[in-house]
């Protein structure tokens, strides 16, 4: 075990040493300083330095605190249930490929390997603890920093042990012929029985516990409070409450009192894990291989998982024509890998609650307003976040830029071809959102009914400008890749840690600045074109016309940028960056 601890210790020390060494290079040093300042001002100062919320304790009433604890315990319950419900593989401990090659053939017992894994996972847990403490300190009105930190550590460590224990139990069940679906059915039946007990009890409890209207949030909150603090539910949540309670302690003495039962639960989990005699080696070898593959792909800039299913071509690519279209076609296929059924489901699940909240805010009569307003919100969001999410351009192709360099194409053709796919996808998505908003935003608060002509005019104006806005906002990160490939996070040895955060911050600020600068001439052009329409009082007619002027100026800027980037690509020296 000492050798394993030495391995862990030395790995940690060497990793930190190489990070410090890297700070000798200005690009990492600048990033490191920016990152350190960000963390200081955003987290530490507020947590420890007497910021707005830094020294305040949880200033909830005891009733409210109880409620928050119940929610936390319920969340923990859901996580634990999911850990028994979702996974399907055999128990696999996460080791690196080197650890598998060195440790598995070595005369080391299985129990020692589990201990090693537990010690190793503590590094990740401690880091997550620090991060969560800072985040909750920043957003959640934390009390003493160390109480929050230890509270998080207890929760995360217990969860970690539970995941491990449940994976061992799952493997044992599989070995005894109980398939995954059988296990899931049993878990669901137990869950259904428990829910039934709670529901039956609540029905019998009388009128005070009738399910309220979903739009009446205070009543809903009150219903949940009563349901979880009376009857059988508190007993069901009790062990989970014991784990989360130390986090909510307000004083050291109270914390120590609450820590004892939480530690007892953790100890129980530890004994469960350590006494399980389950073969995890084979599955662990497979897991380590998959993780190594994923890490290699991520380090070479490919954050998307390796595709497993071929995607159909978006259109037939004729062999003769502009070669830039070939890059567009290729990147559309790559983007197709991103838009799986799972992604659409996640998007749907993310948008539905927003629609629900909006609809309930305005009442069911204003559902169309909620849909229209939601579409506008997503449109604005897509303008800001879209170019960061859709990366089927140089950011995706940076690892194979040597292949692109061998193509008989002008630099501007390569740049233009690379930008086309994300710009087109974003534009189509945004046109759909504009159309949705135009159809559904029939009336606005304080303005009443909006005539179709006005809606059409504004929608057309936005639709004309959108493609060029996308192109400009995509040019900026792509220019960053070509100008500072070593800085860009998808580099072969992509930077991590505080310096990488600083680098991203600098880039983000730079991108915003360039974007704003690009908008100034376009805005000025559009304003000049719009002036005569103001004079003629043809406000709505002026919007699409001014938008065309806006788009033309942006198009000229984009063309200049594409040609300039093309020259940079032609001179791009990979060897200077590796």
């Amino acid at each position: 075990m000492r050798a394993l601890l030495y391995l862990q210790y030395q790995t940690f020390i060497n990793r930190q040493a190489s990070r410090l060494k890297r700070l000798k290079r200005p690009k990492y040093l600048i990033g490191g300083i920016a990152g350190a300042l960000y963390f200081y001002f955003y987290f530490f100062r507020l947590l420890f330095g007497g910021g707005r919320r830094g020294t305040s304790t949880f200033d909830f009433s005891s009733e409210h605190l109880q409620f928050v604890q119940t929610i936390a315990a319920s969340v923990l319950l859901v996580i634990v249930v999911l850990a028994w419900l979702i996974p399907h593989g055999r128990a696999a401990l996460m080791f690196t490929e080197a650890e598998v090659n060195f440790l598995f053939p070595a005369p080391i017992s299985r129990r020692t390997l589990i201990h090693f894994k537990l010690v190793k996972s503590q590094i990740a847990i401690l880091f997550t603890t620090l991060l969560l403490t800072l985040v909750t300190g920043r957003f959640g009105g934390a009390g003493s920093g160390w109480i929050r930190a230890l509270g998080w550590w207890v929760i995360l460590s217990t969860l970690n042990l539970h995941f491990l224990g449940s994976s061992f139990a799952r493997t044992m069940l599989l070995e005894r012929g109980i398939s995954n679906w059988k296990r899931r059915l049993i878990v669901l039946l137990v869950l259904a029985a428990l829910v039934a007990i709670v529901v039956i009890w609540s029905r019998r409890a009388g009128g005070s516990l009738s399910f309220p209207d979903l739009q009446d949030f205070p009543a809903l909150k009150d219903y949940f409070r009563q349901l979880t603090t009376t009857g059988p539910a508190p007993y069901l949540l009790y062990p989970f409450r014991m784990v989360v309670q130390p986090f909510f302690a307000q004083r050291a003495s109270q914390f120590l009192l609450l820590l004892a039962p939480a530690l007892a639960i953790m100890l129980f989990h530890y004994l469960w894990v350590i006494r399980a005699n389950v073969a995890f080696e084979e599955a662990s070898v497979d897991l380590s291989r998959r993780i190594a593959e994923r890490m290699t792909a991520a380090r070479s800039g490919n954050l998307q998982p390796r595709p497993t299913k071929a995607k159909a071509s978006p259109f037939r690519l004729a062999p003769i024509g502009s070669p830039a279209v070939a890059l567009f076609w290729k990147n559309l296929i790559a983007a197709g890998q991103m838009f799986s059924l799972r992604i659409w489901l996640i998007l749907l699940c993310s948008l539905m609650p927003m629609m629900f909240v909006l609809a309930s805010s305005f009442g069911s009569l204003h559902m169309s307003y909620a849909v229209g307003f939601g579409a506008m919100m997503v449109l604005i969001w897509s303008l800001m976040i879209g170019p960061q999410l859709l990366r089927q351009d140089f950011r995706h192709d940076l690892p194979i830029v040597d292949v692109l360099k061998t193509f008989p194409m002008r630099g501007w053709q390569v740049v233009f071809g690379e930008l086309l796919a994300p710009a087109t996808i974003l534009t189509l998505l945004q046109w759909f959102l504009i159309a949705t908003a135009m159809v559904f935003l029939t009336q606005l608060p304080d303005m009443g009914k909006v005539p179709f002509g006005s809606r059409f005019s504004v929608a057309l104006g936005i639709a004309v400008v959108i493609p060029m806005l996308n192109l400009i906002s995509l040019i900026i990160p792509n220019a960053s890749v070509l100008l500072f490939p070593g800085w860009f996070q998808s580099g072969r040895e992509g930077p991590h840690g505080i310096e990488a955060t600083g680098q991203r911050l600098i880039f983000m600020l730079g991108q915003v600045l360039v974007f704003v600068v690009a908008l100034i001439p376009a805005g000025a052009g559009a304003f000049l074109v719009y002036l005569p329409f103001v004079y003629w009082k043809q406000y709505m007619l002026g919007i699409p016309v001014a938008s065309v002027a806006f788009a033309v100026v942006l198009a000229i800027e984009a063309a200049i940028a594409v040609f300039a980037l093309g020259r940079i690509f032609e001179r791009f020296d990979l060897s200077a960056e590796t």
């Binding site: 071929a310 690519l317 070669p323 070939a326 290729k330 296929i333 040597d402 061998t406 002008r410 001179r571």
Partner: protein
């Protein structure tokens, strides 16, 4: 066909290639040989336009690479030691993509016998991730040869191939040379190079030690009227020794 004059590539202060000059005519196969770090891969990457040369002139099929890169690149194909493919394109999509890039109107007619020759015609709808390393290599070759290049660069082309694959690769190289292509192969497998190369260029520390027809070079390093093989030539020319640790 390939004319290199005074090629120099600096990485900061470090000279990876210094004042390298040589020529390869149509039908010739030049073996680029040298110890690790000799500058072989850097030379090939400069010749194929992947990295810019610091100094010197590279002429491919009559076009100066720095002045007219499109014309020069249209005539060449570069095969790296590791097949460089797009993870998300099937074999068929790779061919369609390459055809558009190189403007090969009749690519289907060209591709069919090529795929048959490489024995991958039944894998058209598979992704690279579903192919073995050898198959990936074959796909990269099919894409590279689709536009019938007149100049071909191979960087360690035999790495990872089984004996049948090596034999086929050698035959394929010789076939292209017979058809008039000028070929440069960089490899450490000297006995295999000896079978396919007509010429040899030995470099060390980024500088040319010797170049010329393979027979002439072997003769030059001959001992007691017996011609040296390429391995012996390599050791004598570079001053390397087997006994070194």
């Amino acid at each position: 066909m390939i004319q290199v004059e005074g090629l120099t590539k600096l990485y900061g202060e470090f000279a990876a290639v210094t004042d390298l000059s040589f020529a390869v005519q149509p039908g010739e196969v030049l073996g680029l040989v040298g110890p690790n770090g000799a500058g072989k891969t850097t030379t090939l990457r400069c010749l194929s336009g992947i990295i810019p040369a610091t100094r010197g002139v590279i002429c491919i099929g009559g076009s100066v690479l720095a002045d007219d890169p499109i014309s020069a690149k249209r005539q060449l194909a570069f095969f790296s030691d590791e097949p460089r493919l797009f993870d998300y394109l099937t074999l068929e999509q790779h061919l369609a993509f390459t055809a558009r890039i190189y403007q090969v109107a009749n690519y289907r007619e060209i591709a069919h016998p090529l795929l048959e020759e490489l024995e991958i015609s039944d894998k058209m709808n598979l992704l690279p991730g579903e192919l073995s390393r050898g198959m990936k290599q074959k796909l990269a070759i099919a894409c590279g040869l689709l536009h019938s290049p007149k100049v071909i660069f191979f960087d360690e082309p035999l790495t990872g191939l089984d004996p049948i694959g090596i034999r086929r690769m050698k035959n394929s190289i010789l076939k292209r040379a017979r058809e008039g292509a000028a070929i440069i192969i960089s490899s450490h497998l000297l006995h295999l190079l000896e079978e396919v190369c007509s010429h040899v260029l030995i470099v060390k520390g980024g500088r040319k030690l010797i170049d010329g027809r393979l027979e002439d070079v072997r003769h030059k390093f001959a001992e007691e009227s017996v011609d040296a093989n390429l391995e012996e030539v390599f050791f004598r020319a570079t001053g390397e020794s087997e006994s070194k640790p």
